[in-house]
C-alpha cells in the first residue's frame, strides 16, 4: 500500500463533514430505497435487467452497428471509436469547425472518464457543467466523489465559499438561496451556449434512441437550447429493444436516489428543430475504451450490467466512512474499483481494491445483479498472479497450513512469549488472532485446541455420524463452541468426529488473491473430510462453511484442477452450518427445548457470509424464539462488524469505526445478550464490548442453544 493512499484514508477519516454527511445518508438511503421498491419484486426486476444487459454485452459490436444504422437513418451523426483520445479530438474539431465558443454540459461519467473538459478548455472553449453538484466541483477544481451526488462530500459552508471565491461575493450558506443563485448564473450560460454535451443512461440499438435521466432539468436545456448536441455514450449503455428501457428506468431512480422516477427523462431518437427553426445537429459518440475487451472476459463481462445507480456506494460500510475521493478521480465505490481497473489499468486498482471488506452488501442491492465482491477478489487474484506472491506471505501460509505449528505459535504469542513488532512477522499474518489492536480485547488462545479436547468428550455410539470442521477460531480460540456443537448433536443422536487432517479453509489465501494456496487447502480438506463416511459435515463458522460449500470448487476451477471437482462437489453436498442443521433436527423431533420460565431478551447480529451467502439469517432467530427468547432487533443488524478476516489488521483505521457503530447499535437495544453465528464476529464484537467495559454478553448461537435443549 502506498503512503499517499494510506494518508488519503487517514485524511478522509479525520474529516467529520464527510463521515457525518455520508453516515446520515446511508441511513436515510436504506429506508428510502426500501420504500421506493415497495410492491415491486426486486429479484424479478433485476433478473430482467441482468438478462437485458447481459445479452447486450454478448453482442456489443452488433448492437453498436445496429444503433448507428438506426440513428443515422433519422439524421443523427454517429461516431464509433475505441480510443478515448479520438472522442476528445472529434468533439474539439467539431466545435472548432462550427465556431463554438461556449459549451454547456449535463452530467456525464463517460466524459469524466476521458477528462474531456480539460481538453476543450485548453483549446480556449468555455465549458460549463450544469448539474449543480458537477458545477460546484468544477468551480472548486475537484473531482466527483460519488457517481450520482458528485459534491456529497461538501458542506453548504464550503459551497458558499466556492461561490464567493469563484463566482460572486456575498453568498450566504442558505441552501435554497445557493440553489437560486446557481439557477440564475447558469441560465445565462444555457442561453448563450453553442453546443450542449450530455451523456446517456441508456442507448437503444433498434431505434437509435438515447435516454437521459435528470432531476434538475439541465439535460432538457442542454439538449434544447444550443444548436448542436453531442452525446458521449459508453458501449455498456446499449440495449437491444425499445421496450427494454422499462425495467432499467424502473430500477435506476429507485436504486440511485430512492425516487419512483426522476423529475425528467428525455428519450431522444433523432434531430429535432432548434429554436430558430433550423434542424439541430445531433452527434452521438459510441465509446468503447476497453468495454469490448471486458465483454470478452468471462469473469468481468457481468460488470457491463451496471446501470450506474451507485447503490453499491450507498450501502458500503467503508464508503460511508471514507467517501469517494479515496477511491480515485472518476468512478468510486465498489463498481468504481472494478471500472478503474479496466478503464485505467489493473495496477491502479491495487490500493483501492484493498478497501473492500467483502461484506456483500453491494451484491445484495445491485440492480444489475453484479457480484461486485467476487469481481474485486478476482482483481486481487490477478494482481497476485501478475506480481507474484510475496515471500513473507508464502512463509505465513506454510505456518497457517501446519495446524499444530500454527497453534503453538499463536498460543506462545497470546501468552506473551513472542514479542510483537508492528512490522514483524505477525503483522503480516493473514490471521486475526494477533494482539495488534487498540479497539478490542482478544480471546486467549486455548491451551488445548479443540482437536485435542474432543478426544476427551464421552460421546454415545450412534449410527449417524457428522464430521465437525473446526476452522482456526473454534479450534484454537473458542473450543467451547465446538464442545457445544458436539453436545447438541449428541442429543439428536449424532456422533461427531473431528478428522485430524483438516487444515485452514483457505479463506485467508483466497482473500489475498493466493488461489494456488487456497486450492491446495481445499484439496487437503476434501481428502480429510471425505475419508470417513459421514452424513453431515458441519461447521460453526460461516466463512468456513462457505469455503467448504462453494469456494473449494471455485478455487480448484480457478487454477485448473478440474479432476478434483467431483470430490469437491460431493463434500459440498454434505456441508451444513450449525444453525441450519439444528433447525432441521428440531423439525424432525430429534431435539426438544426445555420449558422456559423467564423470557430473556437478546439481539442478533447478522454475519456477512451467514446472511448474504448462506441466506440462513432467519434460522437462528427462529430457533431462539422457539427456545422462549425475545428478539429485540438492533439498527443495521446486518451491517458488517468490521472484522472481515484479516481486514482488521490490514485496515485497522477503517475497521475500528465500523466496529464502533456496531457496538453503539447493540447498546442502544438495552438487551443483555447478543447472539451471533460466526466466531469471527464474536471475537470482534465481544472484544469491542469488553474493551468498553460493557456488560452485554456475546455468544455463538450454538452455546446458548445447547443450554436450552433437553
Amino acid at each position: 500500500m502506498t503512503k499517499e493512499f494510506k494518508q488519503s484514508i487517514l485524511d478522509a477519516l479525520a474529516n467529520p463533514n464527510l463521515s457525518g454527511a455520508l453516515g446520515n445518508f446511508s441511513v436515510a438511503y436504506r429506508a428510502g430505497r426500501a420504500k421506493a421498491y415497495e410492491g415491486i419484486d426486486f429479484e424479478a426486476l433485476r433478473t430482467q435487467i441482468a438478462d437485458v444487459k447481459g445479452s447486450a454485452a454478448s453482442h456489443l459490436d452488433e448492437l453498436a452497428e445496429q444503433f448507428a444504422r438506426a440513428a443515422e437513418a433519422q439524421g443523427t451523426k454517429v461516431f464509433r471509436t475505441s480510443d478515448p483520445n479520438a472522442v476528445k479530438d472529434y468533439i474539439l474539431r467539431l466545435a472548432q469547425e462550427r465556431g463554438v465558443k461556449s459549451i454547456v454540459k449535463s452530467k456525464s461519467m463517460a466524459t469524466e472518464e476521458i477528462h474531456l473538459n480539460k481538453h476543450l478548455e485548453k483549446a480556449g472553449i468555455d465549458v460549463q457543467e450544469t448539474d449543480l453538484g458537477e458545477w460546484i466541483i468544477q468551480l472548486a477544481g475537484q473531482t466527483p466523489s460519488h457517481m450520482v451526488m458528485p459534491a456529497i462530500h461538501m458542506t453548504k459552508e464550503e459551497v458558499t465559499e466556492v461561490f464567493n471565491d469563484k463566482v460572486e461575493e456575498g453568498q450566504k450558506p442558505d441552501i435554497p438561496k445557493l440553489v437560486k443563485f446557481a439557477r440564475g448564473k447558469l441560465r445565462s450560460k444555457f442561453l448563450a451556449a453553442d453546443m450542449g454535451i450530455s451523456g446517456a443512461n441508456i442507448a437503444v440499438a433498434e431505434t437509435g434512441s438515447i435516454v437521459i435521466v435528470t432531476n434538475e432539468g439541465n439535460a432538457r436545456l442542454v439538449t434544447t437550447l444550443p444548436r448542436i448536441h453531442v452525446a458521449v455514450v459508453g458501449l455498456e449503455k446499449l440495449i437491444e429493444r425499445f421496450q427494454d428501457i422499462a425495467p432499467i428506468l424502473t430500477a435506476l431512480p429507485k436504486s440511485a436516489t430512492a425516487q419512483l422516477l426522476t423529475s425528467y427523462v428525455s428519450i431522444i431518437s433523432g434531430p429535432v428543430p432548434n429554436t430558430d427553426g433550423t434542424p439541430k445537429e445531433l452527434h452521438i459518440i459510441l465509446m468503447d475504451n476497453r468495454r469490448n475487451e471486458m465483454a470478452h472476459d468471462p469473469q468481468f463481462k457481468q460488470a457491463l450490467q451496471c446501470i450506474r445507480c451507485a447503490s453499491c456506494l450507498n450501502v458500503c460500510p467503508v464508503f460511508r466512512l471514507v467517501g469517494g475521493h479515496v477511491f480515485g478521480k472518476v468512478y468510486t465505490g465498489g463498481i468504481g474499483t472494478i471500472l478503474t481497473a479496466w478503464f485505467g489499468a489493473l495496477k491502479e486498482s491495487e490500493d483501492i481494491q484493498s478497501l473492500c471488506i467483502q461484506c456483500g452488501n453491494c451484491k445484495d442491492v445491485c440492480p444489475g445483479k453484479i457480484d461486485i465482491p467476487d469481481l474485486i477478489l478476482e482483481l486481487r487474484r490477478r494482481l497476485a498472479v501478475e506480481q507474484g506472491q510475496p515471500k513473507i506471505q508464502k512463509a505465513i501460509f506454510s505456518v497457517v497450513n501446519n495446524r499444530r505449528l500454527f497453534h503453538t505459535m499463536m498460543r506462545a504469542a497470546s501468552i506473551g512469549q513472542i514479542p510483537f513488532a508492528k512490522d514483524g512477522f505477525i503483522r503480516h499474518l493473514p490471521m486475526f488472532l494477533s494482539n495488534l489492536t487498540e479497539n478490542r480485547s482478544l480471546p486467549a488462545i486455548a491451551e488445548v485446541p479443540f482437536r485435542d479436547r474432543i478426544k476427551k468428550i464421552k460421546q454415545p455410539k450412534c449410527a449417524e455420524k457428522a464430521a465437525f470442521y473446526g476452522g482456526c477460531l473454534v479450534d484454537f480460540a473458542y473450543p467451547e463452541m465446538g464442545e457445544a456443537v458436539v453436545n447438541v448433536l449428541n442429543k439428536a443422536g449424532i456422533e461427531v468426529i473431528f478428522p485430524e487432517g483438516q487444515t485452514c479453509c483457505g479463506a485467508p489465501a483466497r482473500y489475498s488473491g493466493a488461489y494456488e494456496v487456497a486450492a491446495q487447502n481445499g484439496a487437503d480438506n476434501i481428502k480429510a473430510l471425505l475419508a470417513e463416511d459421514v452424513k453431515y459435515v458441519v461447521s460453526a463458522c460461516p466463512t468456513c462453511t462457505v469455503a467448504l460449500k462453494q469456494d473449494f470448487i471455485a478455487n480448484l476451477e480457478a487454477v485448473g484442477r478440474t479432476d478434483e471437482l467431483p470430490d469437491a462437489r460431493r463434500l459440498s453436498e454434505k456441508v451444513v452450518d450449525f444453525s441450519t442443521l439444528a433447525s432441521q433436527l428440531l423439525d424432525q423431533g430429534r431435539l426438544k427445548f426445555k420449558p422456559r420460565i423467564e423470557p430473556t431478551k437478546f439481539t442478533y447480529h447478522d454475519s456477512c457470509h451467514f446472511k448474504r451467502t448462506l441466506h440462513a439469517d432467519q434460522t437462528p432467530r427462529k430457533l431462539m424464539k422457539q427456545a422462549g427468547y425475545e428478539l429485540v432487533e438492533m439498527d443495521e443488524c446486518d451491517m458488517c462488524c468490521g472484522m472481515g478476516g484479516s481486514y482488521t489488521l490490514k485496515m485497522p483505521e477503517i475497521s475500528a469505526p465500523i466496529l464502533e457503530r456496531k457496538l453503539v447499535n447493540i447498546e442502544k437495544t438495552g438487551v443483555p445478550l447478543v447472539l451471533i453465528d460466526c466466531p469471527g464476529c464474536v471475537m470482534q464484537i465481544g472484544g469491542g464490548l469488553d474493551k468498553r467495559g460493557s456488560k452485554v454478553k456475546v455468544e455463538h448461537t450454538v452455546q446458548r442453544l445447547a443450554e436450552c435443549l433437553e
Partner: protein
C-alpha cells in the same frame, strides 16, 4: 361499473403520486372549465404585459383560433407565439401533455416541437394540461404506444425540477420550474 371503479382508482393513484413529488393536481370536467381555471391561475400569478410577467402557451389541438383570441383578450401578457426569449422571460408556461402514468405521477409528451420544451422548462411555473382519458398505468404501457421513429424527442415530467446536491437537502426548482400544476380534463380528446 368495474371499469369506472378501476378508472377512479387509477386517477386517485396518479393524483397521489404526483402530489407526493410536489405537483398540484386539479381535475375539471371539460375544456371550457379548464380554460376558465387556467385564466384564473394566470391572474392569480400576476401575469400581465409588463416585463418578466408574461405567460407562454405552446399550441396544442385543444386551442383553436377562437379560444386563442378569447384567452389573449382575458390575459394580457399571454402569448402563443413562443420564442426562447419570451419563454426565458415568462413567469408561466402552459402546455398539453399526451399521457399520464398512474404509478409514478408522470406526464409524458411527444415534444419534437421546441415550444413544448421551452414552456415547460424555462418559466418558474408550468401548467400542464392532460386528458383524464390519457391516463395509463405505468411506463411499459406508454412505451408500447410511442414510435420513436416518429417522435424524436419524448419528454417525461414527474413533479417540478429538484436537486439534493448540497448536503442532500431537497430543494425544488433548479434549472426547470419550481412549481408544476396539472390540470386533468375529463372530456378532452386524447391528442396522440
Amino acid at each position: 361499473m368495474n371499469a369506472t371503479i378501476e378508472s377512479s382508482a387509477i386517477i386517485e393513484s396518479f393524483k397521489m403520486r404526483a402530489e407526493a413529488v410536489s405537483a398540484q393536481v386539479q381535475q375539471v370536467a371539460n375544456k371550457e372549465l379548464a380554460i376558465e381555471l387556467i385564466v384564473r391561475l394566470l391572474h392569480q400569478e400576476g401575469v400581465s404585459d409588463k416585463p418578466h410577467c408574461g405567460a407562454v402557451w405552446a399550441l396544442s389541438p385543444m386551442i383553436g383560433d377562437a379560444e386563442k383570441a378569447k384567452l389573449q383578450g382575458a390575459v394580457p401578457g399571454l402569448t402563443f407565439a413562443v420564442t426562447r426569449e419570451l419563454a426565458a422571460d415568462a413567469k408561466v408556461g402552459i402546455s398539453q401533455m399526451d399521457w399520464a402514468l398512474a404509478n409514478t405521477g408522470t406526464l409524458v409528451q411527444t415534444a419534437d416541437e421546441v415550444d413544448k420544451r421551452l414552456v415547460s422548462t424555462l418559466p418558474l411555473l408550468h401548467i400542464a394540461i392532460v386528458s383524464t382519458a390519457a391516463l395509463l398505468p405505468d411506463l411499459p404501457a406508454v412505451l408500447t404506444r410511442v414510435d420513436p421513429r416518429k417522435s424524436a424527442y419524448l419528454s417525461f415530467i414527474t413533479g417540478p425540477s429538484r436537486t439534493a446536491d448540497i448536503e442532500r437537502v431537497l430543494t425544488i426548482g433548479v434549472h426547470g420550474p419550481e412549481r408544476l400544476i396539472i390540470v386533468m380534463v375529463d372530456e378532452l380528446e386524447v391528442s396522440a
